[in-house]
């Protein structure tokens, strides 16, 4: 008996991901800042959508209040920068503060179920917003500039911001991957599939959900830090806007919930739509909304779900594959002896029982 973590070798995906990261890291040397600025935006969205996917796609927690942590992250950077700490260095602090804030908040919102949880998280975000606009030194309701970075040469600043965003996005995806590959990943997929059964086989559902909630807050906090750094200012009503939740939900839904790849693909699609159709004004929003509804209705696993089920493609394998002694080596590429027992092709996810 032998167990591997995917049917095919995971090495391929790791090498591919490394190549992509290295290629992306060289971009500031080869393209203009408008491209890297666009990518900073994309990296922030990838982080946000991945964090929302962890909550909704793996824990069944529908939050519309993750902007609370986007705001906490941004204001942490602001406070530290006002006290002379370099904004880039403050990114890890933003992450930690957001996680720390999420722990007590989780005890509050986890008392609520389903739609009440969603509303509860939104209320928390609004409370954070109302509290922060009262602090004059942080700009109140009119916003304030991020001190320190404006003095740096813009070309260098844009490059460092870009690398920071790339690092945060890479770390967020890596953390998601490692989390899902760990035993807690098994807990989460079990909870997602059948919460009652998960409890009855010994999964501590609430602790697993709380851990993910805190991780998700940390990721959103880091994204908030990147936002204030890339914009060089912060406006409370913008950073605590429920629009962030709308974007996370849209991207995660069209890309595909319940996979690491989904939010990455979703971000690409979102940016493409945004770039090509933003000038359409209100029509652009109507189009986004209809697309999300259509995908939610007809492709519950999103576009990535469609691709991966058709092509049996997994860039980030997190599963377990049991090789029995009497079956051929996995390197032979056909671990199961009887073809008919293998995954039937072209089938949708057979839900229900």
């Amino acid at each position: 008996m032998r167990v591997t973590r995917s049917r095919r070798s995971a090495l391929w995906g790791i090498v591919g991901a490394l190549v992509v990261v290295v290629a992306l890291a060289t971009l500031p040397y080869v393209v203009y800042a408008d491209v890297t600025d666009l990518l900073v935006n994309a990296f922030i969205l990838v982080v946000l959508a991945s964090m929302w996917n962890l909550l909704a796609g793996y824990c069944g927690l529908i939050s519309v209040g993750q902007q609370a942590y986007v705001g906490v992250g941004a204001y942490t950077v602001l406070v530290l920068a006002q006290n002379g700490i370099n904004a880039y260095v403050a990114i890890p602090a933003a992450l930690l503060v957001s996680a720390a804030v999420a722990v007590p908040v989780s005890f509050l919102v986890f008392r609520l179920r389903a739609e009440y949880f969603a509303i509860g998280t939104w209320v928390v975000a609004e409370v954070f917003f109302l509290a922060l606009v009262r602090v004059r030194s942080l700009g109140g309701g009119t916003g304030t500039a991020l001190p320190g970075l404006a003095l740096i040469d813009p070309v260098l600043r844009q490059a460092v911001t870009y690398w920071s965003a790339l690092a945060v996005a890479g770390a967020a995806l890596l953390a998601t991957y490692l989390l899902l590959r760990s035993r807690m990943g098994l807990d989460l997929t079990a909870i997602r599939d059948n919460e009652l059964a998960a409890r009855s086989v010994g999964v501590r559902v609430t602790s697993a959900q709380r851990a993910v909630y805190v991780v998700s807050a940390a990721g959103c906090g880091a994204a908030g830090a990147l936002l204030i750094i890339s914009q060089l200012n912060v406006l409370a009503s913008a950073i605590f806007s429920v629009q962030w939740s709308a974007k996370m939900i849209f991207i995660a839904l069209i890309g595909g919930l319940g996979s690491i790849e989904g939010p990455i693909l979703g971000t690409g699609i979102f940016i493409a739509i945004q770039q090509s159709l933003a000038q359409l004004g209100a029509w652009y929003l109507i189009l986004l909304g209809s697309l999300a509804v259509g995908i939610a209705m007809f492709l519950p696993k999103g576009i990535w779900g469609l691709i991966s089920s058709r092509l049996h493609l997994q860039v980030f394998p997190v599963g377990y594959w049991l090789h029995r002694q009497d079956s051929p080596s996995p390197l032979a590429g056909e671990p199961l002896s009887s073809g008919s027992r293998d995954f039937p092709r072209g089938q949708g996810r057979g839900g229900g029982s």
Partner: protein
């Protein structure tokens, strides 16, 4: 109370859903290494009894003691880690996980095994329960029969000290039934208590040393399998139900 300490003890457990009584001051005891059958008509409260033991359902009154200690205030996950495993009459597989992964999560959490132990135990149980061929299939693609096997296998993977089986034998062929009885016997020999709710009475009589008959949440009869099944009151509650089927 007898001198022998019971592994699981229900003391005056009652539960009502509106006007339906699913447990009416039930007092039952189960010993380690014992196989007990539970029979009774549909709606007798058998599945609800399992739910109250496992922690999915709170009794209105009475106590559930495991190893001499009340577990009423413990959640299902904790009870499972202590050694109480249940299967669901309507299977509840983790549909998007493979069969092997379904067992792994049970072995890691319920059984609190290490990574390697988990692999070994899960693979062994798949072999025992005839699910090896399906190890890498998503559980959602299994048919009803295989889903029932998975319920049993996942329960076993939690390393139970008491295993509550809720109608896992329906639809099995005779050789499959014999294999199931064999599994239950092997589990019992590891001094696990097996409590088995089943309508297929002839399978039950081969596997258990004691039968409990419930109806309307009340204990109708308890004791030697043949004697309980010959009991006129038991025949009465089963009127119209072919208990030999």
């Amino acid at each position: 109370m007898t001198a022998e300490a019971a592994l699981l003890e229900l003391a005056g457990v009652s539960k009502r859903f509106g006007r339906i009584t699913v447990a009416d001051s039930l007092s039952l005891r189960f010993q380690a290494g014992e196989t007990v059958g539970i029979v009774g008509p549909n709606g007798a409260g058998k599945s609800s009894l399992f739910a109250m033991i496992a922690g999915d359902l709170k009794p209105d009154a009475g106590d559930v003691r495991f190893d001499g200690r009340s577990v009423l205030r413990l959640d299902p996950a904790t009870r499972c880690r202590m050694g109480i495993a249940r299967t669901y009459q309507v299977p509840r597989p983790f549909e998007n996980m493979t069969v092997f992964e379904n067992l792994l999560v049970a072995a890691y959490r319920g059984g609190q095994l290490s990574r390697l132990q988990g692999y070994t135990v899960a693979a062994r149980i798949l072999e025992e329960t005839g699910l090896s061929e399906d190890a890498n299939r998503p559980a959602g693609r299994l048919g009803l029969l295989q889903r029932k096997r998975l319920e049993l296998a996942r329960g076993l993977a939690t390393q139970p000290r008491i295993l509550l089986l809720d109608e896992v034998a329906g639809g099995l062929t005779d050789p499959e039934m014999a294999a199931l009885v064999e599994i239950v016997e092997q589990v019992r020999q590891r001094s696990v208590a097996v409590v088995w709710v089943e309508h297929v009475v002839h399978a039950l009589t081969r596997a258990v040393s004691r039968i409990i008959c419930l109806a309307g949440g009340r204990l109708i009869a308890e004791g030697d399998p043949q004697e309980v099944l010959a009991n006129p009151e038991v025949k009465e509650v089963y009127l119209g139900v072919d208990i030999g089927a």
